[in-house]
Point group: C2
Chain length 529, copies 2
């Protein structure tokens, strides 16, 4: 154990005096904030701060400017790309421990100041790292049901935001598996998606205005509640999806919608993604905005759920053994009028599709319990996968009309390289967004980390090269973080990276905001380049 130099004590004391929220600086207390939940990335920090207010966030940033510290903002720390934690030390080498029950522990002697000054950013100087958690800024500031807007703070969980809207008879439609712990700030920083994007759009489409603390510690009062505002460059959409690298989102104006009066779901069996696409076109033509989800599920994904999630069962008879492997689609229809209206619309679509032979079998939920059972088949895919060991995840999108062709080509290439590969394909078909997950070897079930790391790079290359050939995106809804930086360099037009760097330089010239995330630094190397 190294002792904390007196300069660090003085630093911490001055940081503690600079703002009024909570501060944690002992390594065990900080531990939960310093690694992502999948334990892939992590690094040390001088302190974890939890400001109470926007003024507090600005005070912390100004302190960082004065002391040349860098800031890692963090919401619910549920991201999948490493954007919300410091970098530089593998999670296994970080101290472990639970967050202390009370605030403001004195600085511990355990801290290794050289580690605490490591940053993953482009800047090679060792600068103190401050982890800024928005978790104490959870207020729903206001709900305007008539105007269908709501102002919430960045640390408000998605679920709390949904509930606040519901309490005023409105719907906030973003919906994600992690909604109980992910935050509105994190949803904005990553432009989160989910199962209702088909109808309501990504987080970007659900946000009218932002309050942001800039890299020099000023507060931008951009809480626009207007549907139309053409007064200058669109700064809002620049901060959305920037993964905390341009400023810290502290609050947002969110769009609300009428709550549906009735919802029904259906699970259908069909023979190919092409049939699913035809069904999508038909359902959109008939149901328009009432079609609120259209999820594609491969048989392999469905079988994992049936095997690993107790109580799961398919509502159909067995698929004929001599037929091609089936695919499944989960449709959700929401009606503002009534559940029977939703039911009627869905039945009309499915009976036509069954008559045309476009769909092999279909079941419509007849109760809330059945509605939830059908959704559970979709929502449990990730959990079911984790029972089978590691797999290589891809969150990609391709033009919707080519999605079947893409799945076929990618599956063929993977199987050529790895004849025993297991492909777990599912996703938001209506958005062209697939989770195309690959376990290239059966032995992955036994956690061969080294083989996994090598295969991960190879499989990513194979899948993402094909995505590029189909004019798709290597990240549809998870963002870049550190996970996809090297690939960003490979697939983005250099001019686009150049413009992104120019914007970063313009708004954060000291590379103080979440350095080393999203934008590839000069040190980022593409493997197998």
């Amino acid at each position: 154990m190294s002792s904390l130099p007196s300069s660090s004590h003085a630093l911490l004391a001055s940081l503690r005096a600079a703002f009024s929220g909570r501060m944690v600086s002992d390594p065990a207390g900080m531990a939960p904030w310093l690694r992502d939940y999948r334990q892939r990335w992590g690094g040390p920090a001088l302190a974890v701060v939890q400001p109470d207010s926007t003024a507090d966030v600005a005070a912390v940033v100004r302190w960082c400017v004065e002391h040349d510290a860098v800031i890692v903002p963090q919401g619910g720390n549920t991201g999948l790309t490493g954007a919300s934690v410091p970098l530089g030390v593998p999670p296994s080498r970080l101290p472990s421990g639970a967050p202390p029950a009370s605030a403001d522990k004195a600085p511990s002697d355990d801290l290794d100041p050289s580690q605490a000054r490591t940053t993953g950013g482009a800047d090679a100087r060792l600068r103190p790292v401050i982890l800024l958690s928005l978790s104490r800024m959870q207020q729903v500031r206001s709900v305007d049901a008539l105007a269908s807007t709501m102002v919430v703070e960045a640390g408000c969980t998605l679920q709390a935001a949904q509930e606040a809207a519901a309490a005023h008879g409105r719907l906030f439609p973003l919906s994600l598996a992690s909604e109980g712990s992910c935050t509105i700030g994190g949803n904005l920083a990553t432009n989160a998606g989910g199962v209702q994007v088909l109808r309501y759009g990504n987080m970007r489409e659900l946000c009218l205005g932002l309050e942001v603390v800039t890299a020099d510690g000023q507060v931008w009062h951009g809480l626009n509640r207007l549907r139309k505002n053409n007064t200058g460059y669109d700064l809002r959409d620049l901060f959305i999806g920037a993964e905390g690298t341009l400023g810290i989102i502290t609050a947002a104006v969110l769009k609300l919608y009428p709550q549906p009066a009735g919802q029904v779901a259906a699970l259908v069996q069909l023979e190919s993604p092409e049939q699913a696409l035809a069904l999508l076109a038909q359902a959109q033509g008939r149901l328009a905005a009432e079609l609120t989800a259209f999820e594609l599920i491969s048989d392999a994904a469905m079988q994992l759920v049936l095997k690993n999630i107790p109580g799961s069962r398919l509502p159909f008879e067995a698929y004929p053994a001599d037929a091609p492997l089936p695919w499944y689609v989960l449709l959700e229809v929401s009606s503002l009028h009534s559940e029977p209206a939703a039911q009627e619309g869905l039945e009309a679509v499915l009976s036509e599709a069954l008559a045309d032979g476009r769909v092999q079998d279909a079941v419509i939920s007849q109760s809330l319990a059945q509605f939830e059972q059908l959704w559970a088949l979709r929502e449990n895919i990730s959990a079911a996968q984790s029972h089978e060991g590691k797999n290589i995840k891809h969150d990609i999108s391709v033009p919707i009309s080519r999605i079947g062709e893409f799945i076929e080509a990618a599956s063929r290439q993977i199987r050529q390289a790895y004849p025993d590969a297991r492909l777990i394909v599912f996703g938001h078909l209506g958005d062209g967004n697939l989770h195309f997950n690959v376990a290239p070897h059966a032995r992955f079930a036994q956690h061969y980390d080294e083989a996994f790391a090598r295969d991960e790079a190879l499989v990513n290359r194979l899948v993402h090269d094909l995505v590029a050939a189909y004019e798709g995106a290597i990240s549809a809804e998870h963002g870049i973080g550190v996970l996809r930086q090297a690939e960003l360099v490979r697939y983005k037009q250099p001019l686009e990276l150049q413009m992104m760097r120019a914007i970063k330089q313009a708004l954060d010239p000291q590379d103080r905001m979440n350095p080393g995330k999203l934008l590839p630094t000069p040190y980022t190397r593409t493997p197998y380049h």
Copy 2:
């Protein structure tokens, strides 16, 4: 007449050799491009260029970089804020003339090179001005009906884009009075709105990707066709609404929608904007996405149409003379299923509203002819106004729930300052967007230009101060251009202007792209400051 110095001849010859499209450089030939259609702004240019292709646009920009020229991009030149023309010379002092029938006239001796080097930008150096018209880049590159996307070039008129979508059985929903001549590039540069924003959003929401020629003459291939793409900063939305000051949009991927199978319109009479708001909430609750327009019209605006547009008539009996002055709402309902379905939904809403006394009278269109007659009452307001002399136009938005309160407060203040003022109020109520137009004196009918100019600044101040107090926007759909620059300085948080300047500096460090537009230059003064 001054003769063109040989250096200018050489310049023009080198420009002519640099790209393969059309070039005009005689003053009479250039005249139509060098002033806005309302004759408020204008200025000279060395040449008007009309490139044929994106590569051509890039070649012109690179020529400008080499010769330190500045570029004014232009679409249909239908904007209302002066963003699409050079600056520096009042239109009345510019040469007049029709565009020549054929291309590439030799440089004329009429050109005053000192004028041709005037620029309205921040840069005090005199730099040659090139007017770059996108009018020859009109191609619809592709339509993907299944994926509901379309790739069009910037010079394609809005109407041609609508027609291309319709030819594939799809709807491109942006709709503006100037759709026959305004272009997709201009629609994007100003983030255009219109009457269907309530349902489909502004141009920003209708665009998935862009192709842009940057300030250094590179081509950004950002023609993303994906619904979801989270790979870096949102450059698309930065170029949209930037009024050509960050780069030149040369093509775009547009979102398409199903074509409605039936549409009906209704005109209703009611007593106040508050009643209109209550009707809006009721209609949205019942009709949701089938409600495609909700336009508020004041009695004064309606009377102008009835008086000045031949053949206009109200479909109701006269409003009782002892009742408060009426307001009107035009609702449009679109059904994907059938016209009777649209009719039924609208009837259900209106019979409930009539029964509740929320609406005094209502008429639903029973034929296409009636549908068009009702819409003509709304669409002819601007034309009807122009019969009555000048008026001071405001394109403002306020939070929807406060719109009635705002109209009342603004009207009261205007009437205090100008007891005989005529207020022409109408707009897109569902978006909180009002056209709040003021003729402060009856004498405006006789064009007292000097009084108009003085009153314009005073009335703008009065209306826009109130807009600011209501947390509204001084430009909802028209943009800033030069018309609203001084006011932008007054009403924007200085930090926001500072960030906008930093972005301009990052992407266009030589202030080459449409200098002097949108962003206030150091020379922009706010009157009455």
